[in-house]
């Protein structure tokens, strides 16, 4: 078993400062946020440029080149609804430290993202939902099967499809939480990799509470076999929890300084 893969989520157009920097092609704020995340232990960085309909290709290329040249070919997740922009990003991507991740496909309108990942030898995040949220795990696993078959038909290795059960917000969907955890176990039993936007669970909670909920959930999810998550790596409590769980799972070898490396 490999180490848990953290994908840093802080380079996203949903943050006004990042949005502005992307629009103006201003490298400094992007580099600063990337550095904070990598220093905190992020393995991959998610690059969410939003819909980027007009200049997505140019923007994604710019961002990939900027980040990889600045940070020793850091591996990246390319996150946009503009497929051409993802392809453009991959065309300038250096794979030294890991394949690019296509973020993301689903079992409905975005299933072609898998084809794109297959054609470009990339990893693909595969959301187990169709038109709207899955109502239960039978439905989630049906989507999982659809996505798996689609990827493999196009020549992907199963290990390059990272299944996302879609973490749900506790405030409003508390009764669904165990379902999600059980779904992760099903992926794991099938030998599949998994990931997801874990902090979704704590949306709308007070700032002080969120790291606690996120840490508890990541520990439970790792126990179920979750292999990756899209997280805020600058949440110290969360990162400490992930590193500790990696120790318990035997993914890394313990040393007294394990939190510092």
């Amino acid at each position: 078993m490999g180490k848990f893969v953290t994908i840093g989520e802080r380079l996203s157009t949903t943050a006004p400062a990042v949005n502005k920097a992307f629009t103006e092609r201003d490298p400094q704020p992007i580099i600063a946020r990337a550095k904070q995340q990598l220093d905190a232990g992020a393995v991959y960085l998610d690059v969410n440029i939003g819909p980027a309909e007009s200049d997505g290709e140019d923007l994604m290329k710019w961002a990939v080149k900027l980040l990889q040249s600045e940070f020793n070919n850091v591996p990246l997740a390319l996150d946009t609804s503009n497929m051409k922009a993802i392809e453009a990003g991959i065309s300038v991507y250096d794979r030294t430290n890991g394949k690019p991740i296509v973020n993301s496909a689903d079992a409905a309108g975005r299933i072609e993202y898998l084809d794109l990942a297959a054609a470009n030898d990339a990893i693909c995040i595969a959301l187990c939902n169709g038109e709207g949220l899955a109502k239960d795990n039978d439905e989630r696993m049906m989507y999982c099967q659809t996505l798996l078959e689609r990827g493999m038909e196009h020549g992907m290795e199963a290990e390059d499809i990272w299944f996302d059960p879609l973490f749900l917000v506790v405030k409003g969907m508390q009764d669904k939480q165990m379902q999600i955890l059980e779904c992760i176990k099903m992926f794991s039993d099938m030998g599949l990799n998994s990931t997801g936007g874990l902090s979704n669970n704590s949306n709308g909670m007070p700032k002080l509470i969120r790291p606690i909920m996120d840490s508890a959930l990541v520990a439970m999810a790792m126990m179920q076999g979750l292999t990756s998550a899209i997280v805020n790596p600058n949440d110290l409590r969360l990162m400490e929890t992930i590193k500790s769980c990696d120790i318990f799972k035997g993914n890394t070898l313990y040393a007294d300084s394990y939190l510092e490396i």
Binding site: G2, T252, L253, A255, D256, S257, E260
Partner: protein, 313 residues
């Protein structure tokens, strides 16, 4: 279904580490497979064999070792004789005379021996301390200074003195730093982390993960080495990718099976043969478990182990 052999090659490798300078320099590590798994991928740098001499005086050596150095009166004589022996790729000088509970030689006196030996031989040098952590901190630091430019291995920094030894050997004089733990995989990792945090380049560290003579808790040594190699290669753990060097001689030539005389133990047979057997068996087991270099004392063991390595790599 046809059988397709799967390569056991890893996507990670052991660090490549050079000790010594010039034509005689040796290179350890670099492999991306388990020990001697040359069928999975070539092993570029075969494990290396060194010979150990000490400053402790001939009279304290087992009789069979004394015989090998007949006519030698000084440590330098021994160093020259050892360097000329078949199969010897590096020389290890153990400064056991520094032990405060033993001969308690001064650091100055010992460093002079180091200098004299360094001047007399051009083989890569390993300097081992006297096993007293305070004395070794001083001794190995001064030895690092005295060997400036020789790219020698100082064996070793321990948890108690890694700051002093690491700073002198690794930072000030750019020698190779030995990191010694005692058959404790978590401490082996921790010490590498601590040395790296001190600023020592991980590429200039060799590990002595601790050793024992075969039969003396040796299975712990083996399982520790196995797990270190597994973490280094299968988990790509950069804090454990340092090559391993194992001082076999100092353990083996202290156990009764190796040193009891035939007069005392007639049923055990000739002492020399027993000692050599113990040394060869221990070294061979260390090598197949992951040691990238072994330090031996008897010239016959050196010849046999060198031959074993040549046959396998």
């Amino acid at each position: 279904m046809p059988f397709t052999a799967k390569s056991g090659k890893f996507n990670a490798s052991i660090n490549t580490l050079t000790i010594g300078t010039g034509d005689k320099a040796i290179t350890l590590g670099g492999e991306n497979v388990l020990p001697f798994y040359t069928f999975d991928a070539p092993i570029e740098n075969a494990p290396k064999v060194g010979i150990e001499i000490t400053d402790g005086g001939m009279e304290n050596e087992p009789e069979c070792i004394q015989k090998c150095y007949e006519g030698c009166t000084t440590v330098v004589d021994m160093a020259k004789a050892a360097a000329a022996m078949e199969g010897v790729e590096f020389l290890s000088l153990r400064l056991e005379g520094g032990d405060p509970n033993g001969l308690n030689k001064s650091t100055e006196e010992l460093v002079q021996i180091v200098k004299d030996v360094a001047a007399a031989v051009d083989l890569p040098l390993v300097v081992c301390g006297c096993k007293n952590v305070e004395k070794d901190a001083e001794l190995l630091s001064k030895a690092a200074e005295a060997l400036d430019g020789r790219n020698a291995l100082l064996l070793a920094a321990k948890e108690e003195n890694y700051k002093t030894v690491g700073a002198a050997a690794g930072l000030a004089y750019k020698q190779v730093v030995g990191a010694e733990s005692s058959v404790d995989i978590n401490l082996a990792k921790q010490l590498n982390v601590l040395l790296s945090q001190l600023g020592v380049n991980g590429q200039s560290i060799a590990m002595n993960i601790g050793t024992a003579s075969a039969g003396y808790g040796f299975e712990y040594v083996i399982s520790t080495m196995d797990r270190i190699k597994a973490a280094a290669l299968s988990q790509n753990d950069a804090t454990l990718q340092m090559p391993i060097i194992t001082p076999v001689a100092s353990e083996v030539w202290g156990v009764k099976e190796a040193v009891a005389s035939e007069a005392d133990m007639p049923e055990w047979g000739p002492a020399e043969e027993r000692g050599i057997d113990m040394e060869i068996e221990t070294a061979a087991a260390d090598l197949v478990s992951g040691s990238n270099a072994v330090i031996l004392r008897h010239p016959a063991s050196v010849v046999t182990i060198s031959k074993l390595i040549k046959e396998l790599v």
